[in-house]
Subunit: 145 residues, 2 copies
DNA sequence: TTAATTGCAAATCGTTTGCTGAAAG
DNA sequence: CTTTCAGCAAACGATTTGCAATTAA
């Protein structure tokens, strides 16, 4: 399997784009941090290593990361978009603590199958889905609210 | 069962709010139109009947409609929030055509059960969930794209 | 070279808010 | 009367964009 860096570089090449210093820094920062984060968070991490990289560049590169398949964006609703590693990661949905924001990745074959069936029953060709479960995590429900 | 209007009026009363002319117009416009719509769409419908109602008032009233239980808001992602009738309507999720935007309401007991189970397996107390399936509807896939 | 890219600041877009005059109870 | 509203326009926050200067190839 190709390395993530390799994938990104090929993606750039295939699209006549260049590997700039900024993109290198941003991609490295992205690859170093697993987990879920916002564009702002990535920007602030990048800023520490390279203060002159502007946030527009971070946004632009984040888009390239998604297009190249390295990253995945998911909309939590209420204007919050989170990014996570995608390359080499299996599909999953999220369970989010409504109180502390903790995120757990979940997958359920039964649900996936029923989703496909529901779409089909309505004559739709399913292209993608978004499912987020909100609840209170053990830590938050244990602590006296 | 109380009428939707009754519910709204009681909601206002219980919260020391008044039933203004504007609120009356907006609620009526809301009740007349089933289906999914954005805040902007409601505003434009209201504007036709009462041009001097401002959009801030529509936004504010829409929020009251949700709080009172008459309306339900759901986030389609990409910054799109849709509203629909909620009072007297059962829970459902949505199947959306990625091409023409057509929306079909869906429910699946199996999925609902699995969602609860998944939350429980992780020690979470499920409070709500959001599920949207995107696909191509029969009309759109039939027509030569 | 020469097209691609950056940083900056200004522009979006949907939604919210502060303020002041105006209705509701 | 006294409180809650409405309208307006300015404020927002996340993201995008135009542009002139800068780099990659």
């Amino acid at each position: 399997m190709k390395s993530a860096r390799q994938v990104f570089i090929e993606f750039l090449g295939d699209n006549g784009m260049s590997l700039t210093h900024q993109r290198r820094v941003i991609v490295e920062s992205f690859l170093e941090n697993e987990g879920h984060f916002t564009a702002e968070q990535l920007y602030s991490r990048v800023s520490k290593q390279a203060p002159d990289i502007g946030q527009a560049t971070v946004y632009r590169t984040l888009k390239l990361l998604v297009e190249s398949g390295l990253a995945d964006a998911f909309d939590l609703g209420e204007g919050v978009t989170l990014y996570e590693h995608h390359y080499g990661h299996a599909h999953h949905d999220h369970l989010v603590c409504a109180q502390c924001g903790r995120k757990v990745e979940i997958v359920d074959e039964t649900i996936e199958r029923r989703q496909a069936a529901l779409a089909e029953e309505n004559g739709f060709t399913l292209t993608r889905h978004r499912m987020v479960l909100f609840g209170i995590c053990p830590a938050c429900s244990g602590a006296a609210a």
